[in-house]
Subunit: 234 residues, 2 copies
């Protein structure tokens, strides 16, 4: 029997309408649907496409621990083994990815653990930096500028060092790192004009000047857009 | 009469199937379709969605000069004035953007020249860095890494300085800057493992180790993926 194929589907930042035609077609065609989930089974990726599921597809939730830090490699190995089992039985598998499969996604870890025996098709998706810029209605990056995407999880000194050499910046994965990030931005003089975007493209999206944000309420899916330090525009 | 609304539609990297459901819905509903074009009228953005046009929509090509450097501000001002004219007449206008509207796109320049009198809806799209990573089947950026997006148009010293402080990197807009970029990567020891991706997601897509690319044939829509200098994975 022919092996199944694996499709990693980038589903975008959260609005189901930001799913691509290709991801939707491949989602509907797959007999197995796998997705990352929290320990209690909730899956943001699955919620994005929930309206198109329930068509008799088998579902596999890959549960990741919610504690800080990178997940143990065993989770990726086990996930890869479960997917490989499905592929060996001839099933086509769609792995659901919020945003893009290869932009800070769990799928990269799974992909590294899969043997080269399987055909893997990667479908890129709309990513959170672009969704945040659209929500805030400001350019993410222009002309000859460099764009830096910086995870808020870095230690304070690492954040400061990276900001010092960056032009246009988006800081992602805020959550409990928010107060630290704001402190660093203030100390390097880049607080003014910085824009906070929470849950971009979802019904409860919020866009605020960074200075007025209450640090107690910041979720993981929140970002800060920091523009190039001012200079004559070219 | 009510003013029309302006929709900036991110159409993704080139494969028409990577258009989002939202962009397609808004494209079909608009009575006017505007897009950036070269001096001879060719428009990459229009080609992505050509199969969905020809429904009696009025088309406006915004012609940008093909010479190097940023386009003169007058082009943006004129484009904004033409769009404003349509909006004043009550027409809904879809502005087509290859990739994403706010990621190095011409739309940011138009947006800056439009008065605040108009409702502008920005629809993010799949961007070339994510498309290139998918084409190459390698992670774009993972875990706590910073991602730097660096335009190849920078001078040699500027490229070298930015590479020195970068982890995961994608260098975009290669074209005639290719030889310079490869020279810089070689001199900072980051040539090995670098991957060249040309026209990601189009039928003539090419993925090659950087070292074997012929610098004479490199188009503008080509990128180089440079991974984090090797260290134990965490």
């Amino acid at each position: 029997m022919a092996r199944g194929r694996l499709f990693a589907l980038g589903l975008g930042p959260g609005d189901p309408e930001l799913v691509t035609l290709k991801a939707l077609r491949l989602l509907r065609a797959a007999s197995v649907v796998a997705y990352p989930a929290t320990e209690d089974g909730d899956s943001f990726a699955r919620r994005i496409v929930a309206q198109w599921l329930d068509r008799g597809q088998q579902e596999i939730a890959i549960r990741f621990p919610m504690r800080p830090g990178p997940p143990p490699i065993d989770i990726y190995r086990e996930a890869a083994a479960r997917l490989a089992g499905m592929l060996e039985r001839g099933s086509d598998v769609a792995y659901l990815c919020q945003g893009d499969p290869l932009f800070y996604g769990s799928f990269a870890g799974v992909l590294e653990c899969l043997t080269r025996n399987y055909v893997v098709t990667l479908v890129p998706g709309v990513s959170s930096p672009m969704a945040c810029a659209a929500a805030a209605s400001v350019p993410l990056v222009q002309r000859g500028e460099m764009l830096s995407v910086i995870p808020a999880t870095l230690p304070e000194a690492g954040l400061a060092a990276r900001l010092a050499t960056s032009e246009a910046v988006i800081i992602i994965k805020l959550g409990r790192h928010f107060a630290k990030v704001r402190r660093v931005l203030q100390s390097c003089g880049r607080l003014e004009g910085a824009i906070y975007v929470e849950r971009a493209t979802l019904p409860n999206q919020r866009v605020l000047p960074l200075a007025v944000v209450d640090s107690e309420t910041v979720p993981y899916f929140a970002s800060i857009l920091v523009r190039q330090p001012s200079e004559p525009s070219g």
